[in-house]
Symmetry: C2
Subunit: 215 residues, 2 copies
């Protein structure tokens, strides 16, 4: 039985940063959500990312993005702060390949008029490196993206939910458009295979973007 | 591209049940947490369990237990409703074997004076069957237990956090007692091996219970 009074000094220090983020976001969502609820969003977002993220260096920074985006999704879903945009969510198992590529492509083709999110039922430790390279080849930068667990708020915010290989792990709510895309998993592929998946997704996403922008 | 207007009728119906659970818990936590926050706890607890649980049959029922326990943990941690008991959290990777056995044993030896929780960094689909059998052999019933993801609230509530094999995925907060126990993983063992783990844990837990009850 070994005692660990302070085995992870990095994470202890994060507490102060998280409180600061919580204060900032409470300001941004003043009159929308209580500071108490914003605080919970920040700390639970952090823990849910810490459970799977391998690299802890950017954990507070991605926590801020994740918590803020989830709060935006919730404010939109509840009609308190509608985004005025089409809202699309891509879900796969690891949120490290397919759903990240699809999201990157739709952001690219969406002309700033589509809110795009992605999530995974079992988020991986990091993005697939071939996926990041393959997207970089066509000028789309995924360096700031990270695998995120699927949450209720982002499903509720979505008008369109597109699943790829995550089976029955995605909660389904009425009044949304659901599609299940049969797309190869980049996790099993070499760089050439990943490019093939990217090109497949590119066609599908161009079609989806055209539909959504024509509304 | 296949369209799935209603691929999971069971989950659609759950929405009504979750709203009812949310109302019930809002009553129980009246004056402690806002109905809005209780609602978020219920729906996000549900989604986090649905992401990994294989069997969806009892999902609303375990959601109610999980959400209520998390809210109790938070109310205790924030000093709004202190439990008046020692609070112990066991964490392993899958929350399907070691942490469930340890929690079951400490509940047994705790004489109702210790609040015991368990969680996993990557919760499994269900409890290990040999683990459930092995605990039944000594009169401890784990049938109502289920693998749960580690959340911020239960770590904050804990006086003692005991990790088993989950490495650096557990957030660490100051002011708590941390121990890392080297215990075999029942996932890799036959029934005789699982009994050996149970007996190892039994010794450790008797010692821990005696310490905590002597306070």
């Amino acid at each position: 039985m070994s005692t660990r009074p302070n085995p992870m000094p990095g994470l202890i220090n994060d507490d102060h940063v998280l409180h600061r983020i919580s204060g900032e976001l409470a300001g941004k969502f003043d009159g929308v959500f209580s500071p108490e609820m914003v605080d919970r969003y920040v700390f639970e977002s952090y823990t849910s990312l810490a459970r799977t993220a391998k690299i802890k260096t950017y954990l507070t920074s991605i926590t801020k993005h994740f918590a803020e985006d989830r709060l935006n999704a919730l404010a939109h879903a509840q009609g308190i702060r509608p985004s005025g945009k089409a809202e699309v969510l891509f879900v796969c198992v690891q949120n490290a390949g397919r759903s990240q590529m699809a999201a990157g492509l739709l952001r690219h083709y969406g002309e700033g008029r589509i809110n795009v999110r992605s999530a995974g039922s079992l988020p991986a430790e990091r993005l697939n490196a071939h996926v990041v390279d393959s997207m970089k080849d066509i000028g789309i930068d995924l360096d700031a993206d990270f695998p995120k667990p699927l949450t209720d708020d982002v499903v509720r915010a979505a008008d369109v939910v597109i699943t790829m290989g995550c089976g029955d792990t995605c909660p389904i709510y009425p009044g949304k458009r659901y599609e299940d895309w049969q797309v190869e998993d980049p996790a099993d592929l070499d760089p050439a295979g990943v490019q093939r998946v990217r090109n497949d997704l590119d066609k599908r996403i161009r079609k989806l973007a055209a539909e959504l922008l024509a509304r």
